[in-house]
């Protein structure tokens, strides 16, 4: 079972178990990780599931999906090179140990 670590903007780390096939946004919501809202449910319409992929994981996570960058520009916190919408990060066994940093604000 892959594990994902969410690091809040104040540095608090939350480790959660997840499963291959779901996405990082649903992983956070299912485990009550605060700091991810995911209001549109993964339709790339709200930009409230913004995360910064940890530098060590950027390559494994892969590139942004089509249209994702347009939404990231609408995010409440600054867009950086490692910014992703967590609804577009599909969890695979290869992502076991993934570290995602949460922005200061989603709304």
């Amino acid at each position: 079972m892959p594990k994902v670590t969410f690091v809040a903007s104040d540095g608090t780390r939350t480790d959660v178990d997840t499963q291959a096939g779901t996405c990082a946004m649903r992983t956070a919501l299912g485990q009550n990780v605060t700091g991810i809202i995911g209001e549109c449910g993964g339709a790339m319409a709200c930009a409230t599931c913004h995360v910064y992929v940890d530098a060590d994981w950027v390559e494994q996570v892969g590139p942004r999906k089509d249209g994702e960058i347009d939404l990231l520009e609408f995010a409440a916190s600054e867009m950086k090179d490692e910014s992703r919408l967590s609804c577009q990060i599909e969890i695979t066994d290869a992502l076991d140990g993934l570290v995602l940093h949460l922005p200061e604000a989603q709304i």
């Binding site: 209001e39 549109c40 449910g41 339709a43 319409a45 709200c46 520009e73 609408f74 709304i107």
Partner: protein
């Protein structure tokens, strides 16, 4: 498998009048007894549980926004993005989103909104009773929207009349001639204003929705630019207006919460609770594109389901004492901005204007606002809902 399930039960007792006056007792009963219910007077299958409304909104393939049988096309003289799906919807939506994104809001709309709020509040007398809903909630919502859309030359009264006329036309299920004659007139007026504004913005671009659309490198057709500005006029005044009046009612009838919100600057939480407690947009319709099943009820292709987000926001499975205004809920997963691809495009604007600017500014200017008679406040609406008056004494 699907064919073994029965259709949803039919209710023949619920009336539109009852829903307009106060739908919440009906929704409470439906959540407990029959969360999937065909309501004869509305001609829709009501979905009143949060899990079901969320599922429907997040599955646009099975539950389409493109329902050709609504009066909306006639009212807007076009198919707006609200009634499209897939790539076409996304392209039209993204065409205006940069005007509605947090960066633009912080840099352009918040400073302007502060000025507007200050100007409108300055007009009000201290110590006397005013109808805050009519004098502030409504015209301030109209004014900031006119700027955001790129048509500041439209007066508050124009914006309010157009908005209401479009809403009445879009809700004209009885196909009466009067509402469509009115919406045709409003369309003609708006077309004229939009044509002039387009010329101005092509010469002098700004960050408004009309400007970013007409000046885009690869613009969507002008007819759709116009149609989508109109849907924003129809759908951008009521909601912030009703949200503001609802939040104020909630805070002023719960003075202990108001004090705590002020002390801890929890204006954002007060905003979220107000829109949960009485969702400005209470219901949405979706056309079922293939036979499906919800909560063991067979829902055939061609049926129209109504997601009742007002009811989802009061679902006992998610909210303790849902009928109470409580700005200090531990979590507040309301669905007032919808979900899925049609998630409200004005979400960020409303949170960052009504929530972040109006509420703190108002209570800073008038620390002792009173609502002398809460029972004088009248609430109305089935599709859209909120107070229709708010007599306050500003002090």
């Amino acid at each position: 498998m699907l064919s073994t399930s029965a259709r949803a039960p039919i209710d023949e007792t619920i009336t539109l009048e009852q829903l307009t006056l106060d739908p919440y007792p009906t929704y409470k009963r439906l959540r407990a007894e029959a969360p999937v219910m065909r309501v004869k007077s509305v001609g829709r299958t009501f979905l009143t549980k949060a899990a079901d409304t969320k599922r429907v909104k997040e599955d646009p393939v099975t539950f389409s926004s493109n329902d050709p049988h609504t009066p909306m096309k006639k009212a807007f003289q076009a198919t707006t993005l609200m009634r499209k799906d897939g790539k076409e919807h996304m392209r039209e939506r993204m065409a205006m989103m940069s005007a509605l994104m947090p960066k633009t809001i912080v840099e352009v709309w918040q400073p302007l909104y502060r000025d507007i709020v200050a100007e409108y509040l300055d007009r009000l007398p201290r110590g006397e009773i005013v109808d805050f809903h009519k004098d502030i909630s409504d015209p301030v919502a109209a004014r900031i929207l006119a700027h955001i859309l790129g048509i500041p030359e439209a007066s508050d009264a124009d914006m309010q009349r157009w908005s209401q006329t479009l809403i009445d036309g879009a809700g004209n299920f009885g196909n009466l001639p009067g509402p469509f004659a009115d919406s045709d007139r409003a369309n003609a007026e708006m077309n004229k204003v939009l044509a002039a504004a387009t010329e101005r913005l092509k010469a002098t671009p700004d960050r408004s929705a009309l400007s970013v659309m007409v000046n885009a490198e690869d613009p969507i057709p002008y007819s759709q630019i116009v149609a989508n500005i109109k849907i924003a006029v129809g759908g951008g005044i009521n909601e912030p207006r009703d949200a503001l009046s609802t939040i104020l009612f909630g805070l002023l009838t719960n003075p202990d919460q108001l004090e705590a919100v002020k002390a801890e600057e929890k204006w954002g939480a007060a905003f979220e609770e107000g829109v949960r407690w009485c969702a400005p947009i209470q219901v949405s319709s979706r056309l079922v594109t293939e036979d499906t099943e919800i909560r063991d009820c067979f829902i055939p292709k061609g049926d129209v389901v109504m997601t009742i987000q007002a009811s989802a926001n009061h679902d006992e499975e998610l909210f303790e004492h849902p009928e109470k205004f409580d700005a200090f809920r531990a979590s507040n997963p309301h669905q007032s901005f919808g979900g899925g691809p049609h998630h409200c495009a004005g979400t960020h604007v409303s949170r960052r204007t009504v929530g972040q600017v109006m509420l703190p500014m108002l209570f800073e200017r008038f620390p002792n606002i009173e609502l002398p008679d809460p029972s004088a406040v009248m609430w109305r609406g089935f599709g859209f809902r909120g107070p229709i008056n708010l007599p306050l004494r500003l002090a």
